[in-house]
Amino acid sequence: MSRASVRDRSRAFALVAPLVLFLALFFVWPLWTMVTASVVDDAVTKVLPRTAVAMADWDGSDLPPPAVHGALAEDLRTAQDQQALGEAVRRLNSAVSGFRTLLTRTVTAAREAPDPAALDFAAVDPRWNEPRFWRAIKEAVPPYTDRNLLAALDLRRDAGGSIVAEEPGAAANRIIMLRTFVIAGSVTLACAAIGLPYAMLAAAAGGVMRALLLLAVLVPLWTSLLVRTAAWFILLQQEGLINRTLGSLGIIDAPLPLIFNRLGVIIAMTHVLLPFMVLPIYSVLIAVPRNLMPAAASLGAGPIRAFWRVLLPLAMPGLMSGCLLVFMVAIGYYITPALVGGANDQMISSVIAFYALGTANWGMAGALGLILLAVTLLLYLVYGRLSRSPQLPGA
């Protein structure tokens, strides 16, 4: 390679490097942090490192050997970081309740004992005679866990460590995922049903007509998502414009329930995502020679046959791209369902937001986020293959 092209290449590197670094730091790393948050479970290991080592040889049946006692006493005596200790206690308490008082008492005893290695645990608290407390510690010491990921799929490990389904009462995630797919699927279908004929209409129209039809798609795309959702919120209300109009026209007696239910969510999301369906189909269709339909007609195909045999196959790649795109964007939607939907229309994003913002349960938020992320990236991969350009329309 010549000197000039080396210089060229290093200049190109220098130009992309800032953005690569920026995204590595503030995009990839945060996502990675989220993923690790769902599998890392090191609150207990950090505070009880010696116990973790000592417990490795204990099979978990009955009570652990004296070496474990000594290690635990030493760990507790030397635990300085009150916050870390608190985290560990919380983690253990969530596994077996009663740990809070048990550990508080034991820490005090370990600190006061002249010889911690010989601390008599049963004397400090009789609960130490119950193997289940020891077992909870053993289960909590490995630094990684699949608990959150399993829980995200409504699974858990039973006492023996094998994976079982969560009891129906406690299992909500699968229902939410199914609902997410159902809503996204309905929105995709609605968009395809409206978007395909609309794109064909726009592609067939000429001049001003075409420009107007396209403008009607682009204006919503350029309008703030929040504004559009707010608009639907106002329109769909009990006393909103739609109910008022229908009422005053005498079509309905009582207001229709349009908001805080599935119908409202699908209407509003279809409105928001329709441009993502129309634009890919349209861009495929305008590349089709204009005289193809007349040509098909001249070969003896009636309009319906010409549509099925000529136009639809040609529009297919656009339709596929559009459907993938709408579905992909729809499954990650948060704002519209949050504002227009009822309690039974919340999608997976809402649950993630609930765990992260409401209960600060990063593990669960991360696990569900990981699932959503994986599905989205998979769809994006297919989309990129299909449309040969990774770009989304409207950008």
Binding site: A12, A14, F22, P30, T33, L226, H271, M328, G332
Partner: protein, 262 residues
Amino acid sequence: MLRALQIVFGILVVAFLILPIIAILPLAFTSSVFLTYPIPAYSLRWFEELVSADVWRLSIVNSLIIGGGATVLSTVLGTLAALGLRASSLPFAGLLRTLFLLPMVVPAVVLGVGMQIFLVRLGLASTYPGVIIAHAVLCVPFVVVSVSAALQGIDPAVEKAAMSLGAPPVTVFRRVTLPLAVPGVVSGAVFAFATSLDEVVITLFVAGPNQRTLARQMFSSIRENISPTVAAAALLLIVGTLCLAALAALLRRREKRAVAVP
């Protein structure tokens, strides 16, 4: 018959797309406290509320600060990267391009969760720099796409011509490449600003009460107790984004005309 059906269908869909946005506008001028038609009387009281109520005023100022910061950051980074991507000698160009577009693809909530955990660790959660950075991540794809398109429109022969006429590489960049890319940079910046202005989800995760943006304020206002102030804010946003979009379209048109010599 078929023709009539087409026309009716076209009108219905256009109405579905446009009417909701138009319908919300007059409500900004209602004198009533309810967001319903008919409007009893027109007044500007909700716009007054928008500028006089502390939460709203602060949120508008925040939107401008954060939008401005995110726009500058993403425009600088995105423009540099687009210039780098243009070099044919760059290895993994396709991969990098995909990376640059990914923030547009990853669901906002997922990124929000990651950002929140991450910024808390850095001590940047609920700070202006934190929110600006988070918004900039979302804006970057728009800048890269827009600037790349502008650069792609430049005929390489034009740059060669400048070189043959005695311009060293730096001068070619300053006098030819950059001026021709400017419309793309500006429309990228416009898209970036509009994106930041409209962003709610990430803001929900990383901003504290002091960084509440207009969009975020609208979101909670709709959620908790909707008032015509929301319509007034929506009007403000619509007018704002439409102006920006028109500006971007205008620039793109000009850039296309300038480049498409023959």
